[in-house]
Symmetry: C2
Subunit: 254 residues, 2 copies
Amino acid sequence: MGHNKPSTAGEVPADLARLWRLSASARRGRPAELDVDRVVGAAVDLADREGLDGVTLQKVAQALGFTKMSLYRHVGSKEELVELMADHATGSAPGLDADSWRDGVHWWAAAIRARYAEHPWLVEVPVVGPPRGPNAIGWMDAFLRVLRDTGLDPGTKAGVLVVVSGYVRNAIQQGRQMAEGRRGTGLSQADAEQNYGRALAALVHPERFPEAALLFKAGAFETEPGENPEDQDFVFGLDLILDGVEAAIARLNR
Amino acid sequence: MGHNKPSTAGEVPADLARLWRLSASARRGRPAELDVDRVVGAAVDLADREGLDGVTLQKVAQALGFTKMSLYRHVGSKEELVELMADHATGSAPGLDADSWRDGVHWWAAAIRARYAEHPWLVEVPVVGPPRGPNAIGWMDAFLRVLRDTGLDPGTKAGVLVVVSGYVRNAIQQGRQMAEGRRGTGLSQADAEQNYGRALAALVHPERFPEAALLFKAGAFETEPGENPEDQDFVFGLDLILDGVEAAIARLNR
DNA sequence: CACAGTTAGTGTACCGGAGATACTATCCAT
DNA sequence: ATGGATAGTATCTCCGGTACACTAACTGTG
């Protein structure tokens, strides 16, 4: 699949170099009007407006007033563009200091969640590998800083990072999907009352799926009124994991 | 986006009906040679061989000896086909009984993991909503059965399910990616020595990312020799979460 | 100062892929 | 047998990504 041409100096692959903005803007030849940042910026704007599927090289170029093909001077491929977009939209990690590691993680999670709220298409970006961009690494670093004084060894910290960040992403995704299910499928809201939750409740028979049926009957998957259940769910799961982390830490001091 | 035509009887959307195989195979007109299962089967085989990107309506049809367009009699859209494939490949949940809920969850996770191993493309299937297929519901039910006697209330069980299943999926994905990263980018293996792990180690400067740099320097992201580190990582994260669950259960009996 | 070399942006053309539409083929029930 | 329903086919359009060969614009040298 990927090409990964050897980089300028044979040191770092070209795509990584672009991700980290290592290119020493050429001093010879025709000066560039476009650059990676402008391309990525336009693409992100587009995605904010039309979702990830709405991002097409054609439209990005059009937004910039250039031709489709000119983009290839700055971003190796569509796939790479998406990676660049994701790292850009993720933004740099905020510096944070909290009293406890637990508060710190909550803070971190809330901060990421806010970023996802600004760029909802981020959850649609397929995860094709471990974090590689500077911003992604920054968030990683921020997380690890939170855990610095826990006494956990590096491997464990990394494990916790994987679990927590995976959870956050997953939870956000689920939340968004629920919200969309509620909002309807593009048809009128009234039509959309034909809710999936309800449809499933009809399909999930108690004889075949006793436990699951209980959940659907209880309407556990429908929006309850009350104070932002989504937030509560989010925090619930996070705390569940953090209880596990706490146990791991406690085990150290035993 | 989606169409969601009102179903035959206006009861269940057509795509859900197909997912649950509710169609009462027509008794009039020309009898069908093809059916959902054959289409899905061929598509799954293709995906097993060529990955999810290798699945194209054209090729699926070809494998069956029909034309592309004939598939639309049975599957609504490509997107729907993928959903059908996923549910099919996930397979029905095994009946399981374990001594403890904890063993049960381990068992469940291992079982799912095995399915993903058979159909690696499953991790590439974009998650566009909560589980809807009968097999997905079956696995959900199996999980909930494991937790039956924990005393947790339904909402909490659902939360645990979300966390655990999210973790499993995420962990498998990461594992696969690492493996791929190791295997190279399509170039010769020797060329692939130009490892991403190593490249990142060069980019992640200690001044800017102190904690992350430690990890990369320590080679925490490179394959260590020893007895299947991937398994160990997997179990580690799972146990971390389960410690959290245990704490929640303990809290009940306090 | 011109021109050779270098880099940026363009035009065009291709290779698919998804899917709409209108057709033909095949069968059942009457 | 025949008409209505359903299955499968033939075409065609739209559009996305990208290779390639071009023209345009500049810069450092001789």
